[in-house]
Symmetry: D3
Subunit: 226 residues, 6 copies
Amino acid sequence: MSALPHFIRNIPRPSQSVLEALRAFGTATVHEALGRIGAMHSSIKPIARGMRICGPAFTVQATPGDNLMVLKAVHEAQKGDVVAVDFARITDSGPFGELIAIECQTKGLGGFLTTGAVRDSKEIIEMGFPVFASALCICGTVKETIGWINHPTSIGGIVVNPGDIILGDDDGVMVVPLARAEEAVEKSAAREAKENGVKEKLRAGGSIFDIYGYQKVLDRNNWTEE
Amino acid sequence: MSALPHFIRNIPRPSQSVLEALRAFGTATVHEALGRIGAMHSSIKPIARGMRICGPAFTVQATPGDNLMVLKAVHEAQKGDVVAVDFARITDSGPFGELIAIECQTKGLGGFLTTGAVRDSKEIIEMGFPVFASALCICGTVKETIGWINHPTSIGGIVVNPGDIILGDDDGVMVVPLARAEEAVEKSAAREAKENGVKEKLRAGGSIFDIYGYQKVLDRNNWTEE
Amino acid sequence: MSALPHFIRNIPRPSQSVLEALRAFGTATVHEALGRIGAMHSSIKPIARGMRICGPAFTVQATPGDNLMVLKAVHEAQKGDVVAVDFARITDSGPFGELIAIECQTKGLGGFLTTGAVRDSKEIIEMGFPVFASALCICGTVKETIGWINHPTSIGGIVVNPGDIILGDDDGVMVVPLARAEEAVEKSAAREAKENGVKEKLRAGGSIFDIYGYQKVLDRNNWTEE
Amino acid sequence: MSALPHFIRNIPRPSQSVLEALRAFGTATVHEALGRIGAMHSSIKPIARGMRICGPAFTVQATPGDNLMVLKAVHEAQKGDVVAVDFARITDSGPFGELIAIECQTKGLGGFLTTGAVRDSKEIIEMGFPVFASALCICGTVKETIGWINHPTSIGGIVVNPGDIILGDDDGVMVVPLARAEEAVEKSAAREAKENGVKEKLRAGGSIFDIYGYQKVLDRNNWTEE
Amino acid sequence: MSALPHFIRNIPRPSQSVLEALRAFGTATVHEALGRIGAMHSSIKPIARGMRICGPAFTVQATPGDNLMVLKAVHEAQKGDVVAVDFARITDSGPFGELIAIECQTKGLGGFLTTGAVRDSKEIIEMGFPVFASALCICGTVKETIGWINHPTSIGGIVVNPGDIILGDDDGVMVVPLARAEEAVEKSAAREAKENGVKEKLRAGGSIFDIYGYQKVLDRNNWTEE
Amino acid sequence: MSALPHFIRNIPRPSQSVLEALRAFGTATVHEALGRIGAMHSSIKPIARGMRICGPAFTVQATPGDNLMVLKAVHEAQKGDVVAVDFARITDSGPFGELIAIECQTKGLGGFLTTGAVRDSKEIIEMGFPVFASALCICGTVKETIGWINHPTSIGGIVVNPGDIILGDDDGVMVVPLARAEEAVEKSAAREAKENGVKEKLRAGGSIFDIYGYQKVLDRNNWTEE
């Protein structure tokens, strides 16, 4: 046990082509396509409408009120990575602000995700760096406590492995297991194609209730109307 | 009891002229005009600033995590209706998304209201269909459980009867009992007229405290100043 | 004790030059510059992105559901003052709306802050008067109960003295004690200058982790990597 | 629609023998036995450890802050009935107290269930009448607003029909649909018998993991150990 | 303003006879008897069932996470006083523990009330000193920040003046304004006498619905039954 | 990375003598003695008053709604271990119940800790096995998803390493880092000895305010009295 390193430098990452393909889909689509898995707790949202993230997770276990591990992780993450930090959904400090956001953006990181809070929201939104968090909070943090980087980490109720793909949009965040990334692309595309067909029918006046034949579920349950 | 149908097809509805008249007022105005009644729990808000709803309630009692009743209700509701669904303020699934929104918009429904969550928020906001909800959530639902449509239904702390008018804006949602719709229009107009007079005085430098003579309430309570 | 007046008319206020200087800084900067003090509970936020307040506190202790003290305070406050009201973080009524906002704006008040809720949010946002609150709520209030104006008042977890400076932006609200206002300007400017230097380094590819030498904290804690 | 009565006097009820049989099981057992259905929101709990309820639901839709419908329902309910009231999980008033509890107990009602709050908790606990609620609250209520009694009612996220069986213990409350009451008894007994066998094995040193063979689930997922 | 002292030593107090008389009533009774006033937020409860407080408020405005003012107040309070502290309903530290409880009990204080959290709950409960709080929390506090003692203070949504009577039982806490203490005793006694009459009728099989004649409210609202 | 095993069998553990020594102290004492560290989120409490835990952490990262990892961990943990599971503070399922509790007790485990919910609370309390959780919930779980056992795991806001000591009582849970266990015993004993001296003084009529000389902090802050 004592041999477990605090920081695991080498992590697997998805291919660029898979990331580009996944980026085109909404979180709800991929969540459904993979069999309704991977949705983080709904308290985690973009700090401004329209932000999107899609990149491999660079996972961090940190202590609420201390952002030393955030700084180390941002320092070590690679272009495109999404630094994803578990702060136990405790939101009374802002361990991510404008300075770190500048470093992230300069390095070309894919985004920042925390179950806690962030600050300097105006500046971060203006620079256009995508950040997903549970709250905004003015309060500062210390830099004293070590944690663990790139270990499997439970974030927002989902166990995230480093390299798993973090996908976020206005609806929230979901996690695509790395091993299922290509499957996710295929099934999402298939689902979207199918949904496009349904959309056409709906725009022509059709009804989901009829298209999928849900009357039979009602009948099975002795549905009555007046 | 066993004779109570799951779905009551024929419901009363307000006249178009009453709806058009009510639509011009803010929720707070109508709430005050009717004697401070009808305001739903403040957790229910438009999913984007500026959305408004004003239409007869097509009420739904559904089970959290199951949107079969939503699909049936949307299928059966008429132009202008607001499908209003009680999901018990449980927000860990999104039983309303882009597909249903397209069906609603194509049919010309007046809006969708839920005490639960919705998903595909970006797409719904772009298409301009008004949706009021407690949260956004990625998670999907099943379609297995029957409930009750157009029965009196407690939604956000207000017992809504089918045909009652759902009025929503950025401040939240209030319910106008159908039998009091015309009274609501008249009293709201009167209140607004009166408030317009007050606004003029305020813009000219007046004070609400003076206009309404609240010093006498202070005096009655032995107010002291230094 | 019985000699304590309900309303203390004369309160100290900061100079215009200090207010102008402080207004240029973000809340997080000033909070850090003064040694991480003064941040109110993170539930208190502007009712629309981009609103800012910076002015002396005109403090109010009021009873939830009753806005008589709000009306009295707005009536008595001076140009630039921020009327700051403790409503115990209870948000099921809206004791501040369009009418009071018009009076505030006409008088040139600096803003309105409440731990409770407000209503008529659309109209208030359109008129551009800065309001910070915990929620939006349709429900009305009575005008019956006296409270205390310009006594030291605990608002959002911070004991605010009348004349202390309320500083608010998208991240939330912080309080600068009046006696430390000039110190706040100096230290914030110093902090910002220092941060500007860091920003340049970051934009040139530097890392906060290196710039501040946090490796030594890791080493002190027997950090291991793989 | 206008023909729907506010109060439906005649409701179906389960037999005494089914009720007695169900009463012997814990809520978790019956919930599992019926395929994981019927559990109300976990905020609803007995007001004192050890309270149990098992009886047919006498359902009430009421307005928060108004207990007129509670008084009518208690007046009309029969021996053994559980008066079950939806107050929308709004807990800032106590619409049930000592007086009503005395009436309930004198009439031999089976219990009282609310998604809201109660008061006079000490007196109610001492008299031993079983009450399940979300909170305790001092505040009083008015008696002005009518609602609906013995309509299908969504209570704590479960659509309850009058006559459905309310089963509550220290873990919370679940609802057994009347039509499945006998099935619930049989399947719960079977589950308990099976669990008793497992308990014996566990007390002899066995492990659930081995007994149910979960190693195969791990193997299927490429489990690794060190 | 600068003349306002941090600590006001002399406060009015109710007579012992009034306190003894009030102590006999439940919080809900006095709340109703005075016209439904004075109930604190329902999150504030005794840390163990059966604790009761009844004494004059010794009010404290303190900063969350700092208990210097608590220590000063306990030091200065007199036999029978209830030290009542506003911590803004922020509960992530425990500014009251065993040591302070011993000092309180030795001095014969009437109780301790906080909108925040306490610790050493086991020891405090065993010694039988009555404490009302919003939570239990292990975390410690500093002793660095001054606040205000015996100023009017908003506690749990109620503006408490020093000397007002804090009355607490299992249902929560209510505040009796000092000037209305005798009125509270009289009206509570009258209410209790009236309720005793009702209780007898209920135990004899009567119904609140009939006793108070609520059928007429139903009739006024076009109540229908089936 | 791919080499990281799901389950790490061999973990360090504290000596029995250290555990026995620590068990004698309250959580608040040890938290203070180590410099105010290690307190978990205050939502995690014993499921019945009086329960205590003190043992090495056997850490589990699991997915909410799935207890496969709980079963595996209980299967593998040793006498005295405290199985400590992160369920992201999501409490709408009960992944620990009577059967698992029997297995735990038969094996002599030291306790069970979860950020989620448990069920069968009555039976578990009667058997006297110590369980700390955030809630009680009837709902069942599946057994399908693998996670990680005995990796460093963030539980209730504290990063717990396997073998760290979990200490819990009525106030909540704190974590003693294994490397600081002996220091914790010594410093807690010293603190307790010192506090015993203070307690004697307090029982003799002394005051904490005087004993620690806090008047000087007040003087430093220009304290005024009237």
